[in-house]
């Protein structure tokens, strides 16, 4: 919102062949949500996330590689941020980054990304993860003079599968991931 003015949103015209987009660090964050004592939702933000995504809309294939700096975890409560980094939760000293590598893309009829399936690695443990698009669009960004594609994606994981078990069951095992992503064409 702060820096750029853009064109109305629309799926850009198909470009033949694969295009590799670099993630925009100003608009690429992971927010996690976890239930606290069955009452309210704790949220934290990790990012900016770095990486790149290659999409071939005509061939309907894609390849995504994300590096997620878990050391940046930030909840608005410093004591909780410090606690989240300890070995029984994110273990950021030993594992400063999480990774998401995905090569199974589903596209809608208009060529928009619907779902991305791959492997999420946290604390050195890899598990399958699916990110489902709540919204997806491409635009010609007026300031960047580049095509920008992105959207909002949802994911769901169980933290115990990755060994992050502190506070169970009073703090939930189900973690909802809310991912904002925008990526800039060359």
């Amino acid at each position: 919102m702060c820096a750029s003015a853009g064109m109305p949103p629309a799926l850009a015209q198909s470009v033949p062949g694969p295009v590799t987009y670099q993630l925009d660090p100003n608009h690429t964050f992971v927010q996690f949500e976890v239930m606290h004592f069955g009452t309210s939702t704790l949220r934290g933000r990790i990012g900016p996330v770095t990486g790149e995504v290659t999409i071939d809309r005509a061939a309907r294939i894609g390849d995504l590689r994300l590096r997620i700096p878990v050391t940046t975890v930030e909840t608005g409560v410093r004591a909780l941020d410090a606690r989240l980094k300890e070995p029984d939760l994110l273990a950021t000293t030993e594992y400063p980054e999480a990774y998401f590598v995905a090569t199974r893309f589903q596209f809608d009829a208009a060529g928009g990304v619907k779902e991305v399936r791959g492997e999420f690695t946290l604390r050195g443990v890899g598990e399958p993860l699916s990110l489902v698009a709540r919204s997806f669009a491409c635009r010609q960004d007026a300031m960047l003079k580049r095509e920008v594609c992105g959207g909002d994606f949802d994911g769901q994981l169980k933290r115990s599968r990755f060994g992050a078990t502190l506070g169970l069951p009073f703090v939930g095992d189900d973690v909802h991931l809310v991912v904002q992503v925008e990526a800039i064409a060359p």
Binding site: M1, C2, P9, G38, S40, G151
Partner: protein, 190 residues
């Protein structure tokens, strides 16, 4: 979450017994946050969280009534991107230097069974006041094992129209007028 899990083992989950009198609950700042969400060029959603919220709730489970008075420190905005936080805070948008707080007052709690389902109140932002309806996504009370007090809280959301508060920046080039507010709140019985 960040204290001993052994203490948590003695927690009593669930709604505590209905009580006959209104009680005062103090907003618990480490579990009370307002986050705004606004669309970014029809592509993704930008978010920002206000880190400091304070206030109190008067709540009577038996009579199914409640009221609240909550202040959000608008200078505590945090978006994760320094330039974005600075711009939102500037006099083009929230003007936090002149208006360092947002204020929510409500005296109508709508119940669904024994749970709060909706709170109708008035939000004052940038010196302008408009009615808001906060819808509960979750609501619960529990005995907190660390605080040794009852805690009530939940998740609420609402959509405000920012131009009604005089925030019109960027409307003419496509930034939405609607802003979604996502609120986590827990409050401790006094």
């Amino acid at each position: 979450m960040f204290k001993s899990s052994l203490l948590a083992l003695v927690a009593v989950l669930g709604v505590t017994a209905a009580q006959a009198e209104p009680a005062t609950y103090a907003i618990e700042p480490s579990h009370s946050f307002a986050t705004f969400e606004i669309g970014h060029f029809g592509t993704s959603t930008n978010r920002g969280r206000f880190n400091k919220t304070s206030g109190s709730v008067i709540f009577d489970k038996a009579a199914k009534t409640g009221s609240l008075d909550v202040t959000v420190d608008t200078t505590s905005l945090d978006t994760g991107t320094a330039a974005f936080t600075k711009h939102i805070s500037s006099d083009e948008i929230l003007n936090v230097a002149a208006f360092p707080t947002a204020h929510l007052v409500a005296s109508k709690f709508v119940f669904n069974g024994d749970k709060v389902a909706e709170i109708d109140g008035n939000l004052t932002l940038l010196g302008k006041t408009n009615p808001v309806v906060l819808k509960a996504q979750n609501f619960n009370c529990y005995m907190n094992p660390m605080l040794k007090h009852e805690v009530c809280g939940g998740d609420f959301d609402t959509t405000i129209v920012r131009s009604q508060y005089g925030v019109s920046y960027g409307l003419n080039y496509g930034f939405p007028d609607n802003v979604h507010l996502v609120i986590q709140v827990e409050a401790v019985k006094q």
